[in-house]
Each structure stands twice: as C-alpha cells, then as structure tokens.
Amino acid sequence: MFRRASRSLRTPFLHPRASFATRALGRLPNSQSPIVSQPHFFNSVTGSNEQIPAFRLLDGTGVPIEGADLPEIDEAFARKLYENMQLLPNLDNILYNVQRQGKISFYMTAYGEEATIVGSAAALEDNDEVLGQYREMGVLLWRGFGLDNVMAQCFGNHEDTSGKGRQMPVHFGSPKHHFHTISSPLATQIPQAAGVAYALRRTPDRSNSVAACFFGEGAASEGDFHAGLLLASTIPSPVVFIARNNGFAISTPSSEQYYGDGIASRGPGYGIDTIRVDGNDVLAVLTAVREARARSLDQGRAVLVECMSYRVGHHSTSDDSFAYRARSEVDDRKRIDNPLVRFRLYMESRGWWNAEAEEELKSRLKADVLKAFKHAETQSRCELSELFTDIYGGEEPWNIKEQREDLARLLKKYGEDWEPWRVELQKFKNKGQELSTK
C-alpha cells in the first residue's frame, strides 16, 4: 500500500535520533530512551538557550549575507517572482478601496507577506495540492488563476468559479489549479492536508506531488493543527506545512498566542523535520520550501516551514488594527523590513531591474487590475435557483425540492410588488425568473 513504505515505515529501532546518546545505563525497553541517573528537565528543541535559528539569504538591503548560498535563478525567473509579489499590493489597494465603497462585502490584504506567499508558490510544483487559510491568493495567481477569477469571486457574480457567490470574498478554490476551496473556520484544512497527501501517495500518477498546507500562527493554536501534524507524521504522508507567522491573530499578538519558541518548536515533537525562515526574504523562502518539498517527497512524510513575517495591513476590512498596535510600529516595519524592497534591491544589484521597469510594472499591473475590476463590477449574480443546488449529490431530497418550490411560489406572489425583493431580484441572472416561472 505504501509506495515509500520501505523508508518511511522503518522500525523505531533504526530511528536516527535513537543513536545520539548511548549511555552505559542502558535503555528503556519500549521507547529506546537512554537511562540517566540525574533528573533532567528540558525545554528547548535546540538543546541550548538559543532560540531556533531563522534561515536568511539576503539582508534588508538585498545584499547576500555571509555564507549564503543563493539559489540559482535567472533573470526571467527573478522578474516573475518580483512581478508576482508586486501584483499583490496592487490588487490589495484596489480591492480594499472597493470594499470601502461598499461594492464588495469584505476583503483581506496580504501586505507584508508577499515574499512568504510568492516564495512558497514558486518553490512548489503547480500541481502540488494547496490547502490555504485565506491570505494565499498569491499562490493561485502564481498558477495562472487570473485576475478575472479573483474579481468574480470577490464580487460573487455569475462568473465566480470558486463557489457561485456563496462565500465571502477571498474564499477561492479551483480544482484546475489544485487549490482546495478556502473555508473560514480556522485550521480545518490542516488535518485534511494529511488526508490529501495520503491520497497522493496512493495514486501512482501523483507520486511526485505533495500537499502544501498554509496556516497562520493563530490557527496553529487550534486542536486541528496538532491533529494534522500528528496524522501526517504518524500515517506518513507527504505534506509541507507552511506556517505564516505574521505576529498577529486579529488583535492578539503572537506573544499571547504561545509561550514556546514559535510554531517551529512543535515540529520535532511530532517527529517532523522543521525549519524557520525569514519570511520577508523571498529567496530564503524559495530555498527552504524547495528543500522541504524534496524532503517530504523523499521521506514520504510531513515537513514544517515557519515563515517569520509581519502583518502590515489590518486583519481584514472589519478590523482597525490601530486600536491595538501603534501606527508607528507598522510604519517602521514597512520601512525597515519590506520584502518587496529587499528583493528589488537585489535585482537592481544584478542589473535586472531599474526605476523604469518599476514604473512600467506598476502601471501595467494597475491597469490589469482595474480592467478586471470594471468587468466584474457590472456582472450579475448567478441564477437565484443556485441557492438550492450542490447540497446533495444524486437525488434531490424532498425537503430541498419543497423549499425551492416554496420560494418560487413566494416570488410569483410578491416578487413584482414587494419592493425589497423586486430590487434584489434585479441583481440575479434571469432575475429569479427560472424559479418563478417553473
């Protein structure tokens, strides 16, 4: 059943960690734990008072740090990385304001996390299965989901291929892009990722794919996080867990989210290879996730990557973060630790980028976004009858049929005359006719 069982299901006696400290006092019979004669408490996964190190390649000014082995990337790939990173704030600026004008109901920006999201997307294969939280639109865009699909989902119009306007904005999904539909309840995707990966390893054609599971450091407090990591390591499944540690879960700073050493410290507790990376360094993220992916495939097991970043934007359009953090703190972070600037400076140092290219890119991206926005804005919603579809596969149960007919009856009776309904019906494709004339 396990194609990689020979490696991943080896007996505990060969476990690499079992060999590090053989002592004369012997071992416990069933855990291989070496026996010691002094009580020894420990509270560190590094074995010292040092925190888990963070992997970085470029410093804040885009200069490679001492000892850095940069990944080999050419100019075209570097430009693709940068353009995808730049697309996010350009899109966020417009959609944030569109929400403020009441044209869409909600929005969430990815300000500050561009390198984490795009660097991860670039390290994955485009058919790796992605299970996201909600701030990972950049992964979909990297895979060619397209601005029209983004807009259609946010406007919830009849072109919304993610969910027919049933979900709030930013709840994207696309089987074609191997991106599982976002759901608002936090962390539910984490154990699901273990199941997805297990399915991958049972499917011969997919033996080179992993599941990539994104979540915030806040979501990592949910029981589902622990369940997910435990399952993916115990029932060996190739999952790359990518924790976006952006310092906040709405108003709650990470200092109140956990007392231990971040999310990374939990990986070894589940026997999972783990790395912490500077999430604002796109090359470091790219390198770390590539390596994580390779390990995950090679061992058929989970790997954990913790990307350290900072949520520059408000949590969402429902939030005003200056109620709980200083504006200056945000401004400082934006200025000192800006993932876009860092990579841009690196590109400039290689002669791959300049002010002219920057101007050209920004106006092109803005024009693209506005074009998609204008198109989406004028589209109607799906047909109203979609309210009652996709509930069950197979035969429609009597209650759903009866309720659909009841709404049809009501529309026939009051649809023209009752002003709130008359106005609302105009927003739907067919204006509800397909229901009321049936």
Binding site: A249, T252, K362, I400, K413
Partner: protein
C-alpha cells in the same frame, strides 16, 4: 471596530473614492485629491457594510424602551439590591422609580452586564479570542483596563481550549474548594466557530453535575457567542446553531432581543446555577438602542415574554426575527392600498373572518396576533406557548436557523401533541431553508423577512 473608527475609516477611504474615469489614477494620488473626489462623486459616500451589519428598521421598533419610565417598568425585572435590602430587613427599593437609565446599544449593554459581573463577584473572569482589546464586536471594551489582565484576558485561538478552560475554572471555588463555584465567562468569537467546543459542551459541561451525582457542577460557566445573519456574513458568519443544542440537557441556551433584555438575561445566565450558552444576535449590537437601567438587575430565564397580546394567532420567535415579525404584523394591520401584498392580505383576512368558528364568536373583522419572544431556547417555556395557543388556536414559529432540526419543529411537535383539539390550523414554521449555511449573495432570500412571515401568517389565518 468601533462606530467611530468605522466612520473615520470609511470616511477617509470613501473620500478617496473613485469615479468611472478617476479609477485609473493611482490610490496614492486619489488620497491626495480626496476632497475633490467627494464633490464629484456622490457614489463614493456609500458606507461599507459594518462588520456587525445594520438593520435600520429596528430603530423604529416599539419594543425598544425609549424612556426611562418604560425601561424601569420592564416586565419581570428583578433588581439585585432588593434581595440585599430584604435580607437586611430594610424597606425594599424594588420600585424602580428612583433608578437611572442610560441609552445603550446591545454591545454596550453586554459590556455593562460583564462589568457588573466582574465588580460583584471576585471569582468572575472574562476571556476568549481578542477579548482584551475589547473584542471584535466591542463587548469587552475597556474591561481589561478596568479589572486587570488577570481577570479579563486573551486566550490562544482554540475554542475547545476556551470552553474546556472555562469548565475547569468553574469547577473550582475561589476558596480552593473542589467541585463548583468559579464564575467563568467565555467568549466564542462567532457561533459559527463553536463547533470545536461542542464536545466540551455536550460531553462535559452538560453532564458535569449528572455524572458526578451532584458532587461537581459548572454552573458558573457562561459561553457568549454572536449569532444570526447580518447581511454579508456568508456561510460562516451568519449561522443560527441553536437547534443543535436542543438535545443538550444540563445546558441552558438564551437569546436576547434587545440591549435591556441582553443585560438582564446575561446577568441571570452568569448567576444561574447551570452552564449557559448565551447567543447574541450580532446585527443588534449596533442597530438596537434603548434605555437600559444602569443598576444591577436580572430577567428570568426559561420565561417567554408576550410582547403583543392577541386572540387569533400566536407567533413565537426570538432574536433578530422579533423585529421582522413586528413589521409583518404592521403590514397585516395596515395593508398597502395597491398591489399584491395588500390584496393578498385583504383576501386572507376575508377568508379568516368567514371561517364559521370566527363568525360564530363574532370576533370582528381583523385578526389580532399574539407575539411571544421565547428568549430561552433550552429549557424553553412551553407552558406559556401552550397557554397562548389554547386561546388562539393557531401557531406560527419564526427563526433564522434551518427548519429541519430547529426550534420551530420542536415546538410544533409539543404543541401538536398537547393542543391537537385546540388547533384551527396546522402549526407553521418559517425558518431558514435547509441549505448548508447562509449563502452570501442569496441571503435576502434565505432569511425569513417580513414578507415571508406575513405570507405565513395569512396562510395560517386563512386555513
């Protein structure tokens, strides 16, 4: 966010709004041109939907107490200090006449109740996700500053943890006594996110007393959560999950309809000797405003309230739907001159008036509706509902949650069983459809609004 921050945010951003031609200008430029944009673009002043939603019609409700006098005469109100006075043998100050009231919306009234709970009970703690800065709906605003972070605090993001923690705390007295006594007031950020805690509620809190033969209980636990739809919450910020709690004996479930009710019912829930799940209709946080007594008082649990007396149809509801029922009754009593709504009302009322039973007792020409706010969902006040239906012979139940497995069907079963011979029409339930959640763009046709409620009233009356 607060109304102020919301206003200022929307203000500054709508000032930066766009016109068809101006949209091409970069955002930063638009910000600089803020004032001109306002003048040239009226559409830019459209407010974004507030997080908690808004239902303007609620402001006109006659159920909201507009004066101090009305507020102090609230039915069933019990002032906390009267008990003390009585115990001391003093003349009771039960008469509310000397008391203060203040205009509050629902989140302010909840905050007021929490503040009183903290001030009057040293063991009380208030906690949950984002509670310390005031909560995403502002219900705990300033409490951490006032009572300290030891008593009002953020938890990590885990609902099962939050409720489990609350259960543990409530099983310990302040004096170190094992078994019962602590007051734990937990917040779950949205009712939609209570499911990770369902196990703690169902298998632990509800059975705590029973399984220990009364040795242990967690009566001090109250779990607050915002519930119901607001107009733009989609599948996961709109649900009304109270139906799932109906089989959870040992737990009480309470849903208030207004600020004054919320304060009294919340204080009663906190002090009730049982764990309570207190669901707050989130559209009412801002939309419902009334005079609320500032002193400490409770309103009775498991006691429905008759808001309007009537003789021909009993309508039972709770939460946000109370106001939609009020509007439907208003339509029924004032049918529009022209159009389908008016003619349907007149036809149905005629049919009703010609009913032999109605004719024979000469009740008159227009039906009168009795409106009941159930307030406590579990254990619910069946006697009041039954007594009403025995008089009116007709029952309609209205709620936002789905019909199947909902409160309406529970009541329909009990009333059908006990009042079969009194009924002139089958019991009718108007609820959300049995779709898996409230779909974003379809919400206006999901939530039972006044026209759907009116139609159901007519159907039951004309049966």
């Amino acid at each position: 966010m607060t109304t102020n921050t919301l206003r200022s945010l929307s203000g500054s951003l709508s000032r930066a709004g766009t016109t068809a031609t101006k949209t091409r200008i970069s955002v930063s430029v638009r910000r600089r041109n803020a004032t001109t944009a306002t003048q040239t673009n009226p559409a830019a002043s459209v407010e974004p939907p507030p997080a908690g939603g808004h239902l303007p019609s609620i402001a006109q409700s006659t159920f909201l107490k507009q004066t101090r006098d009305q507020a102090l005469k609230t039915v069933g109100i019990k002032w906390a200090d009267t008990e003390l006075d009585e115990a001391r043998g003093h003349q009771s100050s039960a008469l509310g006449s000397g008391r203060e009231t203040r205009k509050m919306n629902t989140y302010q009234a909840i905050r007021d109740a929490l503040s009183i709970a903290l001030a009057t009970d040293d063991s009380a703690i208030v906690f949950g996700e984002d509670v310390a800065f005031g909560g995403v709906f502002r219900c705990t605003l300033g409490l951490a500053e006032e009572y300290g972070r030891e008593r009002v605090f953020n938890t990590p993001l885990t609902e099962q943890g939050v409720v489990g923690f609350g259960i543990g705390y409530a099983s310990m007295g302040m004096d170190g006594r094992t078994g019962k006594g602590g007051t734990a007031i937990a917040e779950i950020q949205f009712a939609d996110y209570i499911w990770p805690a369902f196990d703690q509620l169902m298998n632990e809190a509800s059975k705590f007393r029973y399984r220990s033969g009364g040795n242990f209980d967690v009566g001090g636990l109250t779990v607050r959560c915002p519930t119901m739809a607001v107009g733009h919450g989609g599948l996961y910020h709109s649900q009304s999950p109270e139906g799932f709690f109906l089989g959870m004996s040992g737990i009480k479930v309470v849903i208030p309809r207004s600020p004054l009710q919320a304060k009294g019912l919340l204080l009663a829930s906190i002090r009730d000797p049982n764990p309570v799940v207190f669901m707050e209709p989130k559209v009412l946080y801002r939309s419902a405003v009334e005079q609320v007594p500032t002193s400490d008082y409770v309103l009775p649990l498991s006691s429905a309230e008759t808001l309007v007396s009537g003789s021909d149809l009993t309508v039972v509801t709770y939460g946000t739907s109370v106001y939609r029922c009020e509007q439907a009754m208003h339509l029924l009593n004032n049918p529009p001159e022209k159009g389908a709504v008016g003619s349907n009302i007149r036809d149905a009322v005629k049919d009703w008036a010609n009913h032999p039973a109605i004719k024979s007792n000469g009740k008159g020409k227009s039906p009168s509706i009795e409106l009941i706010d159930l307030r406590t969902i579990l254990p619910y006040d069946l006697p009041s509902v039954l007594q009403s239906v025995q008089r009116t012979g007709r029952l309609l139940v209205v709620h936002e949650g789905p019909v199947t497995g909902g409160v309406g069907m529970q009541l329909a079963g009990e009333i059908g069983k006990r009042a079969f011979l009194n009924l002139d029409a089958p019991v009718k339930v108007v609820g959300g459809w049995d779709t898996p959640g409230v779909a974003l763009q379809y919400e206006k046709f999901y939530i039972p609004d006044e026209i759907r409620i009116l139609d159901a009233m007519l159907e039951v009356l004309a049966y």
